[in-house]
Symmetry: D2
Subunit: 331 residues, 4 copies
C-alpha cells in the first residue's frame, strides 16, 4: 500500500510514464502558507540534472494544487499535489517487455500483478515516485519550525571524495552506489515510543520506501556491533539530556533524547547501467544479453538527499503532532 502516517499522512500514486504522479497529504495543520515556489528548491535538488552522473531527463516538476489550498494557505482538508508527466518516451521500454532488467522490479511486478503492471520505465516502481515524497517533505518541513533536516552524500562508490567516486563510474562506464547521511537539529526530547513506534522503526519504514535503499543505520550504526559498551555509551551531561558523545544518533529506547538525530542509508548502484548484462527473456526462455539505453543516472544516490530529508520530515511531523509539539493550526 502507498499510505503512511497516523496524524500527518501521505498517500502517493502514479507511474513513471503514465499520466501523472502525486500525493494526498492529510492532517496538515490549517493556515500554512503554501505556494508552488516552495517546492522548487527540493524538486530541483531531486532532479540533479545538472550534475555529473545524473540523467538529463527534465520535467518541469512543479506541483499542481488539486485540493486543500485556499487563498494561498492550507485549509485543514486533504492537500493534493499532482505532477504531470510530460517528457515521456514509452517507446524506449515497450520493445523490451519480456526482457526483465536485473535489479529492477520488472520481473516481480509482472509475476505479482499477473502481467497487468504498467511496465513503461518501471511504472509505479519508478524512482519518479520519489517526487511525491519530496513534495510531502516540503510541506512537512514547514511544520518543523526551528528544526533543520539536512541530508548529504558522504561517499560514492566507496570514496568520501565524491568527485573521485563519480569519476570511477564514468571511467568504468558503469553505475555506482553511495551513502547518504541525514542530520536533524533542534528536535525536542520525547518523540517516539518503545517498540513499534520507535523513531528508528518509523524512519526505517519510510526510508525503505525509497527505491534502491539497501540499509539504514542510526548513530554509530553497524560499527556499534564491533565496539565495547563503555565506548559506545553516551554519557549524559546536563538536565536537558545532552550527551558528551552521540553514538546513539539522538535516539535511546526508540525515543529522541534531545541530541542531534543522525542516520545513514546505503544506496545501491543504479540498476540501469550502460554495461552489458545477461537476463532471461521470458518469452523465449533464453538467456539474453542487453545493455540499458536511454536516460539514466550513473549514481542514483546523488538524487537521494532531498528524498531522505523528505521522509524524515514527514515522519517527524507526524510524531510532533502526536506529541502535541506543534499545533493543528499553523503558527
Amino acid at each position: 500500500m502507498n499510505h503512511f502516517g497516523k496524524l500527518f499522512t501521505v498517500n502517493i500514486f502514479g507511474e513513471s510514464h503514465g499520466e501523472s504522479v502525486g500525493v494526498v497529504i492529510d492532517g496538515c495543520p490549517a493556515g500554512m502558507p503554501l505556494a508552488v515556489e516552495d517546492f522548487i528548491k527540493d524538486t530541483e535538488r531531486r532532479k540533479g540534472g545538472t550534475q555529473k552522473g545524473t540523467t538529463p531527463r527534465q520535467e518541469e516538476d512543479l506541483p499542481l494544487f488539486k485540493s486543500g489550498v485556499f487563498n494561498g494557505k492550507t485549509t485543514g482538508a486533504p492537500l493534493t499535489l499532482l505532477f504531470e508527466n510530460k517528457n515521456t518516451r514509452s517507446g524506449d521500454y515497450e520493445k523490451q517487455r519480456a526482457v526483465p532488467r536485473p535489479g529492477h522490479a520488472d520481473f516481480v511486478a509482472n509475476r505479482k500483478f499477473g502481467g497487468h503492471e504498467d511496465y513503461r520505465g518501471g511504472g509505479h516502481f519508478s524512482g519518479r515516485l520519489t517526487l511525491c515524497l519530496v513534495a510531502a517533505g516540503v510541506v512537512a518541513k514547514k511544520i518543523l519550525k526551528g528544526i533543520t533536516v539536512d541530508a548529504t552524500i558522504t561517499s560514492i562508490a566507496g570514496e568520501p571524495d565524491l568527485e573521485k567516486g563519480l569519476q570511477k563510474a564514468i571511467d568504468q562506464k558503469d553505475s555506482v552506489g553511495g551513502i547518504v547521511e541525514c542530520r536533524v537539529k533542534g528536535l525536542p526530547l520525547g518523540l517516539g515510543e518503545p517498540f513499534f513506534d520507535s523513531v528508528e522503526s518509523l524512519l526505517a519504514h519510510a526510508a525503505f520506501a525509497i527505491p534502491a535503499v539497501r540499509g539504514i543505520e542510526f548513530g554509530t550504526g553497524f560499527k556499534a556491533a564491533d565496539m565495547f559498551g563503555v565506548d559506545h555509551n553516551d554519557a549524559i551531561e546536563d538536565q536537558e539530556g545532552k550527551t558528551l558523545t552521540n553514538h546513539a544518533g539522538g535516539i535511546v529506547g526508540g525515543i529522541t533524547n534531545g541530541n542531534e538525530l543522525v542516520f545513514r542509508i546505503a544506496i545501491k548502484p543504479t540498476s540501469s547501467t550502460p554495461k552489458e548484462q545477461y537476463t532471461l527473456n521470458w518469452e523465449t526462455g533464453e538467456k539474453e544479453s542487453f545493455s540499458v539505453k536511454g536516460r539514466h543516472d550513473l549514481c542514483i544516490a546523488l538524487r537521494v538527499p532531498p528524498v531522505l530529508e523528505a521522509i524524515t520530515a514527514f515522519v517527524l511531523a507526524d510524531l510532533m503532532l502526536r506529541e502535541q509539539k506543534v499545533s493543528r493550526i499553523f503558527s
Copy 2:
C-alpha cells in the same frame, strides 16, 4: 504504540519487574494446534542463560494461554499469551532512580512520561519484552509451512569467531556488540508492495522494535554502496526468478523475488557494562561515576537470534495472509 500488523497483529505489553509481560495476537488462523511445549525451544534460546556472556537470570518463561485456545487449537479469536515475572529484584534498581544509565532509556522515559515511568529494570523498555516478540514468532512460524526462518550470529565484537569475540568482552570486563543475520528459505515470489508496504519497510519497522538494534541491511547491504552496477545486479536465471547471485537479498522493488531472503541487523554492546561510567545525577545535578551491578548480559546479541526470527516470522505471516498464500483456517 505497541501494536503491529494488518491481518496478523501483535500487541505487546508489560514491564521487566512488573506483574507480567505478554502479547495479544489477532488474526491467527483458526485450528492451529498450540501447546506450551511449542514455545520452549525459542524461549530457551532467547534466555541464553547457559552461554558465556549472558545473564544468569532464569525465569520459567512459559506462556499462560489467557484466551484464544480451545481444545488445544487456536479458535480464530485473539490469542493472549502471558508470562509472569517471578524472579524480580526491584531493590537493585530503586536506589539509583536519579542516576540514569547511559545507553538506557532511563532518562528519556523519565522526561517523556513526566516521572511516572516504571523505572525498575528499564520497565516497559526492558529487553524482557522481547519474550513477547518471541512468543508471537512461535505462532507465526507455524503459519509459515515449508518456509524456514533462521537467524544466527555472524560476528561478536567484530570477530567472526564468536568465542574469540566473547573472550574479548570477558578479558576487558566490558560488554560487546554483534551482528545477527537472518535467512528465510522457501518464500513465494510476490510478497510485499512498492513503497510503504515494501518487505524491507515492514521488516525494518519490526526489527527496530528490538532493543539495541542500530542498523539493518538487506542482501549485500551497506557494501552495495561501494559496488558497480554490473556487479551488484543479480542476473535472472529461470522462469521462477532464481538469480545467479543474491545481492538483493531476495527482495526487488520491495517485493520478494523467490530467492532466499537475507538480511542482517547490528546490535550495540549491552548498555549495562561492569565498567565504570559517568552520568548525571538529576537530583544533585552533579556528574556521578557508577558501575552497573546485577545480572546483565555482556553480549545481548547472543539472545537476539530467536527474536529476529520471531519478528521476521510475524511480518511474513501477515504478508502471506494478505497475499492469500495461507488460509484463514489452519491446514
Copy 3:
C-alpha cells in the same frame, strides 16, 4: 482523516468550489477492465438533476484516470480518479462568509480550522465529495462478482409514496428528509469479525461519512427494540444458514450469515432550504435572518442511493479480500 479500508482503501479529497475532487484507491486487484463509461451510470444517478427536488447543477462528472490504469485495465498500483470542478459560482457564497448556515458545517469548520477553511459551497464538507465515494464504489462493485448491491429510497418526508413526499416539499417550499435502504444479495457467509471489525461497524463507519446521514439500522433495526425474542430470532433452515425470517438483516455476531444483507439510513432534510431562517452573524454578533439562494436540492436523499451502494461495495470488497473470497488478480 479521509482514508478508509485495510486491503482495499479509499482516500478522498477535494472541495466543492476548488480545483477538483477525487479519490485514490489502493489495493484494487490488477487486471480489472476500467473505462470512463463504467462510471456514467452511477455518477448520473448521483446527480439526480432531472428529478423533481434535485439541484440543476450539472457537472460533467467524468473521472480522469490519473494513475493505476494501463491498457484499459487496473495495474495493481494505486488508482487515482479526478473530477474537475467546472461549473462553480463562488460569488454565491463569499458574501455570506460571516453568516453560518444552520445545519451546515460553516460554523464548526471555521472554528476548527482557525478561519482557514475553504468556505465556498461548504468546501471540503460539501456533498460534492460523495462523487468520490461513488467512483470508488464503481470500482468496488466490479470486484463483487455475482453480488448485487441495490439501494432505494423507501420514504420521503415520512411518505412511502415518494411523489407525495416530494410534493410536500414543493408545496411547503421547504426541504425534506428521507430513508434509503440497501440490500445486498449473494454475499458469502463469514465476512466480518466480532467486535471492531463487525460488518455493522464497518458499514456504519463508512455510511456516516455520507453527509446528512443521521441514523443507520440493520435488519429490523430500531423496531427490534420493541419486539419479543421469539419473534425477532431468525430460525435457521438449512446447512447454508438460510433463515426463515431475516430480522437480523443478514448479520449475526458481526458476521454475514449468508442471507440478504439489509440496512437503512436516515437522511435529514437538506440543510439549505428556501425558507427564511435565523442565525448568528459572527462579525456583527447579531442574529440575522436569511434564506438560502442558489442551486440546492429540496431532498438530498434522492441522490443518496448510489452513494450508499458505493460505500457498501467498498466495505464489502475490503472484507472479501481479507477473507480471500476474491483474488488479488481480477478474474
Copy 4:
C-alpha cells in the same frame, strides 16, 4: 479484529467460558491514578444482577492490573486489565454443540472458523467481552475531565415506563429489547473530522461492537427523515456555537459543535429466550425444537448503559488526544 483507536487504543480479548477476558489499552496518558476501586461502579452497573430481568450470574469482575500501572498510577506504557472467569458452567453448553441457537453467532462462528471456535457460552462472541469495553471506558472517562457521559434506558419493549416493559417480558416469559440513549455534556467544539473520522463514524463503529445493537441514531435521528428543513435546522445563537434546538445531537459536518452530544442505540431482544424455538441440528440435518436453559437476561438492554458510556468515552478520549485537548501527561 479486536483493536480500535488511533492514539488511545483498545485491544480486547477473551471468551465467555475460557480462562479470562481482558483488554490492552495503549496511549493512556501517564500519571493517571488508577485503582481497582475505580472499576467497581461501572462493572457493577454492567452486571445488573440485582435487577429484574437480568441474569443472576455473579462474577467478581474486578480487574487484575497486568501491566502499565506503577505506584498506583499509569506509566504511559500499555495498560493491561484482566478479568478471570470463575463462575463458568461449560456443561450447560457442550451438549448442544450441533444445535445453533437462533440469533446467536453459533452457526456463523462454526462455519467461519472451520469448527474451531470456542462454542461454550458464545465463546469470544459473548456479551462477557463487554466487560473489557467497560474497563476501557473507566480509564477513558478519567481522561475526559469536566465532561460527563451518561447513558440511560429510554424504553423497554416499546414502553417508556421501564417497569411496564419488563413486566411484559416476565408475563410473556420471553426476552425483550430496548433503547439506550447517551448524552455527553461539556465537549469542546471541534472534535472529529469530515468523512471517515466523523464523530458519528467513530461512535457508530465502536457502538456496533456491542453485541445486540441493531441501530444507532444521532440527535433527532430517524425522525429527521420525516421533517422539513426549517424545523430540523438548529439556529446558532452565540459565538460559542450554542444552538436554540439540538436536532443535530451536537454534531455538524462530523464535528462536535459545542452542544450536548446525543445519540441512541437500539438493542434487540436477548437471543436466549425461555420460549420454545426451532433451529437446525447440523449433525442430523433435522429441524429441532429447543428452549434455552441456564442463566440469561430477559432484557440485555438493561446492562448496556455502562457499555455505551464506555465506548463513547474511549472514542472521545482518542479524539481529545488528537485535537490536543488533553495532555499526554495526566493532570
